[in-house]
Symmetry: C2
Amino acid sequence: MTLNEKFRALQTKNAPGQEVRQNLGDINTIMIGKKIDGAPVDFSHGDVDAFPPTPNADTIWKEGFIRGASQAYTEYRGSADIRNKLADKLGKFTGQQIDANSELIITPGTQGALFLALGSTVTNGTKVAVVEPDYFANRKLVKFFGGEILPISLNYKDSQHENIPDLNQIEEAFKSGAKAFVFSTPNNPTGLVYSKNAINKIATLAATHNVTLIVDQLYSRMLYSGEEYTHLCSCGVQLENLITIMGPSKTESLSGFRLGVAFGTPKLIERMESLQAIVSLRAAGYNQAALYSWFEEPPGWIENRVKEHESIRDELLKIFRAGNLHTATPQAGSYLFLKLPPLSVDLHTFIRLLRYQANIIVTPGTEFDPSCNDSLRLNFSQDPSAALSAAKRIVKMTEIYST
Amino acid sequence: MTLNEKFRALQTKNAPGQEVRQNLGDINTIMIGKKIDGAPVDFSHGDVDAFPPTPNADTIWKEGFIRGASQAYTEYRGSADIRNKLADKLGKFTGQQIDANSELIITPGTQGALFLALGSTVTNGTKVAVVEPDYFANRKLVKFFGGEILPISLNYKDSQHENIPDLNQIEEAFKSGAKAFVFSTPNNPTGLVYSKNAINKIATLAATHNVTLIVDQLYSRMLYSGEEYTHLCSCGVQLENLITIMGPSKTESLSGFRLGVAFGTPKLIERMESLQAIVSLRAAGYNQAALYSWFEEPPGWIENRVKEHESIRDELLKIFRAGNLHTATPQAGSYLFLKLPPLSVDLHTFIRLLRYQANIIVTPGTEFDPSCNDSLRLNFSQDPSAALSAAKRIVKMTEIYST
């Protein structure tokens, strides 16, 4: 693969957050009707002004800054003291004991953790099972490292959530030589959670076929009422190679600190640290201090944050369903994946129109699955009234441009 | 190359800052004499307690934190407003106009910039000219991306600094198919600065042979009295592909923020951003704000910082030369590369002994050049009296273990 080909596969022009670099083109000649007024909403990521960082995150950062050299220059895998505390807290959260010295690394965001985990697992020709739709970087990372993607369907349009992901396809992929399987649960972009049965089956298949599992649990703390979450790392199946990824960027709104954590198999953590050393040395030293606040939020703070998001979710579902737009019901997290009706314009044009005509930024479904050219992802961690008003504008726009 | 081979080449156990993970082994059976008292000094990196960050770096960070969403979620290449200001300031510093929109990216440290620049230039089989000795990650990065190293001698032991690097070897490497050349000036680990003649010759050769140049100028602001610095980007030769890397981690002691900048050819900056998107999205958002303070230090602050380092350099040179230890005279930066006399123990054992017996951490020369197994690198950005006392202990240790 030439460098040009390699980088074509990485193109970011439709990636969330990069909309400002897009050219709107001859949008006026395509637009039907007038602009639709309403407060601008950027659904491409959560709004940390609407849902601010955990209390005192800045104060804890400042304490790290004052600590000076010991906080600025940590081991590449992160401060030993912070790793000790994280191992304890994440052990309790997941139900799996974690050794702080050998089984955990602090990374520059969960994106950083994914990069390191796949970089430590995938090389030229490695077959990797990748769920579609799933986090947009998973596919790109596998390609960048020279791997081959074995796609796994999520079956998220089924009414029975028990059927996600397609376990038969996973078994087939493992039998046909997959060396690794990467997926997110709660799933990004649908907000669906893998059931206990699915997790157990995946673990059992991985153990049988000796497949490395890389599981992105970024949103596992934002679980809605009545839902159950199964941590792969404590499901009881003995796995040779497992990396679990979490971070405080979403529920806790600490994205501006670029912090993530990966824990699991020591050999892989060791590799991830070696790679981190040539990628960016370490997660920014002073920022690491903010992890002291993680899982130490004031009583009720997390519960309230989850409740507020569940309420936005419920209202959005009402609006979209009244507008005949299909979406699976997110069980966790703040993503919602919306299926559009047949439109007179293609997906990317519709998205440009949403931005120009309705003041709304969304992410195209094709970022998550090349075949999802009829879907949008929304991050609904937004000011509630702005989000609901924007949702109504989305419905209106689908009516204007319906075939 | 298997993953095991790939990661063996990346091993970090002797990398600066990782000493805490080393096993001291049976050191007591090797040690000659008693422990030598003295305040511990970690020469593996600068001491930001001895030379603290630029004034108000924390206040400027806090302003970014308060700005909220717009600072937390920037474009992957970094905040547009900060890029505008940097393009202006770096344009003035280097003498080369920079377009903030297309020619500059903010990265997680200069390490991040190097990773992105090499990742955008090197793929399987790409031949890359690499100076030896030079920054330890350069060689590792080329190998990680599947490239082939064409080594270039620095000739730093010559008394004539004009002779660094070996220009004939560079011409040979370019003629034999090198697609890229990566080097640091001021050189890490020797502190030597490439002359105007060397820079012009490198640029001319690169233009002739269409070689991408990646130049790490991290230490270019800490230039000692009487020295001259030539910026490759403004040397007057029209280059097809050039990336210049700088950052505020060293002279300005902002390493704990993990910030760097790369500027140059738009096509390469575009690739670097695409890669950054799957590596860690962006340099931590709030931290980017600290770049507002860069090149805006209070009057005299930088001059004073350079003077203080020059004074430590001069004192260290006296001590080492009185002890018959060879070192080139650093012209810039805070590194000093020390050649050891023949010893009764090997380099890595001597370094373990320095740590155990004399309370001193240094980095082995082999990190910078596989053949430099008789040298140590010191970062002398340390408390002056602690550094001088430690230098005397190093001389004493070479006497104890001399053959």
